[in-house]
């Protein structure tokens, strides 16, 4: 197998496609974190008093916390005073339409392939684009408004729907939840907000695009989605960043609330800059995502395709509170070169007859480490709860690692919990078989990986599934042969 190793060490000719920076005038907060920084951000955004209070409480709580050490990842200690907590394109003032957006910024989004201008848009996708800290434009807003759907930047929602923000902000992920959630709660800059009224089925995919552009900045976005009774929404987020030598921090919080018989489908295609092939640079992606199935028979489904970031640390979770509610987690996490991923989910069953399903597909290549960490917790009162978990690992070569940490805490004997796990390897034999059928190494890897991930990719909206397939192929380019 010496040969295979040789092939594999030729790793990573693949270049990060999104590694450009845009020359846009930015407005920054002073470097470092203090109460003044928090006040500065709040003031910049002209926030109501309750929000400043929320931020300050979070900040004070954060000061009492230590950054977590339990994850299966390695990185130098982050100097939280060496980060800029707010950066915004300077010209952003009360934009009424796309025409007013800085053309340089629009060019950036065009390069990213985000169809920001409506005429070019993929039919049926509304986009909110967050550039560094500020939401730039939300398309299709009027069309959505007809149905009573609110889809706008978080900052905007603070002013237009303060009562909803006040009611739901921190209701799923309290600022005390964890170190990075507290940090985010103190300094979050912008993000997306979405409210689907009772009985409304959102007629299009809603989509947010995040991009870190400025140097030395952290991105702390906040997303809040509320689906009222018997409503439905499918939401997609995508992320990229320029190539930089230093590591940048991204610590987002996403909160989902599903009321009675409501359904939220949340899909992520995460492609933050992963660092170069020697492990220099890249995004630290420390994200808290959680949804609550509050009402009976509600459903929350997370689908994620994680190909980027130097370190990914996130566990999109569902609290199954309403009886008969359903939680799902479908994940593909790819690591190559020196990337590290510690990702998985938590399914907390508190309601009766609640069901959860976990399908996790890890792919490791290069010298990367890929961990699945998942918790299935069934509380005492959760009669007849059911969980099915499947955690598969695919290894490419023998210098990478795959790890599985499943935690089960079962407090009710009527529950049924199943866990399946497999580890497989893309080996010479499979590749040779494909070659013998006229398929090149690269195409063979793409074919095998897409087959392996099919169950997860099938969960994505059609146009994004195609995108994700391409992304998988690009991420693994050069990882064999």
């Amino acid at each position: 197998m010496a040969n295979e190793n040789e092939l594999l060490t030729e790793l990573t000719d693949s270049e990060y496609k999104y590694g450009f920076t845009s020359d846009i005038e930015q407005e920054y907060a002073p470097k470092g974190l203090s109460e003044d920084t928090v006040r500065f951000i709040s003031q910049k955004k002209n926030e109501p008093e309750f929000l400043l209070e929320f931020r300050l409480k979070a900040y004070r709580h954060w000061l009492t916390m230590k950054d977590p050490q339990w994850q299966n990842v390695n990185f130098p200690t982050i100097d939280f005073q060496d980060i800029i907590y707010y950066a915004a394109p300077k010209k952003k003032q009360e934009l009424q339409s796309l025409d007013e957006v800085d053309p340089e910024l629009l060019k950036t989004f065009e390069k990213l392939g985000i169809p920001l201008s409506e005429q070019k848009m993929l039919a049926g996708v509304a986009v909110d684009a967050v550039f560094d800290s500020v939401s730039v434009a939300t398309t299709f807003k009027d069309k959505l408004a007809e149905k009573g759907i609110v889809f706008c930047s978080f900052s905007e929602a603070v002013h237009s729907h303060p009562e909803l923000i006040k009611k739901y902000l921190g209701s799923v992920v309290p600022y005390t939840d964890n170190f990075y959630a507290a940090l985010n709660s103190a300094v979050f800059s912008d993000g997306s907000f979405c409210y689907i009224p009772k009985g409304v089925r959102c007629p299009m995919e809603l989509s947010t695009y995040f991009r870190i552009n400025a140097k030395n900045t952290g991105q702390f976005e906040r997303t809040l989605i509320i689906a009222d009774d018997e409503s439905y929404v499918s939401y997609l987020e995508g992320c990229t960043a320029p190539m930089r030598d230093e590591n940048q921090l991204h610590a987002a919080v996403v909160e989902l609330v599903a009321h009675e018989k409501a359904e939220i489908k949340y899909s992520t295609v995460q492609n933050w800059y992963p660092g170069d092939k020697n492990g220099v640079g890249g995004i630290y992606n420390f994200v808290t995502k959680r949804g609550i199935c509050k009402g009976i028979s509600s459903k929350i489904s997370w689908t994620q395709v994680e190909t980027g970031s130097a370190i990914t640390w996130k566990y999109p979770s569902v609290v199954l509170q309403g009886d008969n509610s359903v939680g799902e987690f479908y994940s593909v996490a790819v690591t190559n070169n020196f990337q590290q991923a510690d990702t998985g989910t938590k399914m907390i069953h508190t309601g009766k007859n609640t069901r959860s399903r976990i399908v996790s597909k890890g792919i490791s290549a290069g010298k990367s480490q890929n961990s699945y960490r998942g918790l299935v917790k069934v509380l005492k009162k959760a009669e007849n709860a059911r969980n099915f978990s499947q955690c598969d690992s695919l290894l490419m070569g023998d210098t990478c690692g795959a790890h599985t940490f499943p935690y089960l805490e079962i407090g009710n004997s009527s529950s049924v919990v199943e866990h399946e796990a497999t580890t497989s390897k893309i080996n010479e034999d499979i590749l040779f078989y494909c070659n013998q059928r006229g398929i090149s190494q690269e195409d063979a890897v793409a074919l095998i990986v897409n087959g392996y991930c099919k169950e997860v990719l099938n969960q994505l909206p059609m146009e994004f599934a195609v995108e994700a397939q391409k992304l998988l192929a690009i991420s693994l380019e050069g990882s064999v042969g």
Binding site: D429, I430, N435, Q436, R437, G438, S440, I448, E455
Partner: protein, 256 residues
């Protein structure tokens, strides 16, 4: 001629397996290679298909007037060399239809033909399926996953039919097949036989050659072809085993 092997020597992990193979195959000919376990039959198939574990230490192979050893495995395939694997791999999540579409269209592209669209492709596949008495549910199942031994081998022959090769190497396609599967596989091969297509059939037993009648039979022993004959040779081997050849070729013991 399609294939000309001259004095081919190959080794794996420094151990020499093929020790000077000479073989010429002309269009339309069916050659069978027989020999006891460990004689180098499967190595020969792997080396011809381009498996990188093997190192060719000397000799040459000419395929359609090109230096075969100079071509990457996928190019060999696109040029029309097909290997029916002794142990076909399983690829979970990739349907047989999808796999074959990728494969066939690569080959077509190489030959300057338009790739098939989904509808055309389905039509072509269905035609070939009938040839091999296979159910079309085959197409939507993951490639070879959970297939029985017989199904896997039939799938190999099905792929062969789809790819329209000029030289097909069947590496112990008969092993693990019951008599019905054997008959179906053999009939599939026979239907593909014509004046253009050539076959190199590697087998342990004479049984398969009852159905696919070869033009030539070669005996491979300790990395060399020690005897060449016609189909009668296969019958003789069946009857007498391989031991008598050792005495007929006494130098072999010493070579070892």
């Amino acid at each position: 001629m399609i294939l000309e092997i001259k004095n081919l020597c190959a080794s794996i992990d420094e151990k020499e397996i093929l020790k000077g193979i000479n073989l010429t195959i002309n269009p339309g000919e069916v050659h069978a290679i027989m020999g006891p376990n460990g004689s180098g039959k499967s190595t020969l198939a792997s080396v011809l298909a381009g498996k990188s574990d093997y190192e060719v230490t000397s000799g040459s192979v000419t395929f359609k007037n090109q230096d075969l050893l100079d071509l990457d495995p996928e190019i060999r395939a696109r040029e029309g060399l097909f290997l029916s694997f002794q142990y076909p791999v399983e690829i979970p999540g990739v349907s047989t239809a999808n796999f074959l579409k990728a494969s066939v269209n690569e080959v077509r592209k190489h030959r300057g033909l338009e790739p098939y669209d989904a509808m055309e492709f389905l039509k072509v596949m269905k035609k070939e399926l009938e040839l091999l008495e296979m159910d079309k549910s085959f197409l939507s199942r993951s490639l070879n996953e959970g297939f029985s031994g017989g199904e896997k081998k039939r799938n190999e022959i099905f792929q062969m039919a789809m790819l329209d090769p000029v030289l097909s190497i069947l590496d112990e396609t008969d092993s693990g097949l019951d008599i019905d599967a054997l008959r179906i596989v053999a009939e599939g091969v026979n239907k593909l036989r014509n004046t253009e297509r050539s076959f190199l059939i590697i087998t342990h037993y004479q049984r398969l050659l009852d159905y696919i009648v070869p033009d030539f039979v070669h005996v491979l022993y300790q990395g060399k072809i020690i005897k060449t004959g016609t189909k009668e040779l296969a019958l003789e081997l069946e009857e007498r085993g391989y031991d008598w050849l050792k005495s007929e070729v006494p130098s072999l013991e010493e070579v070892q």
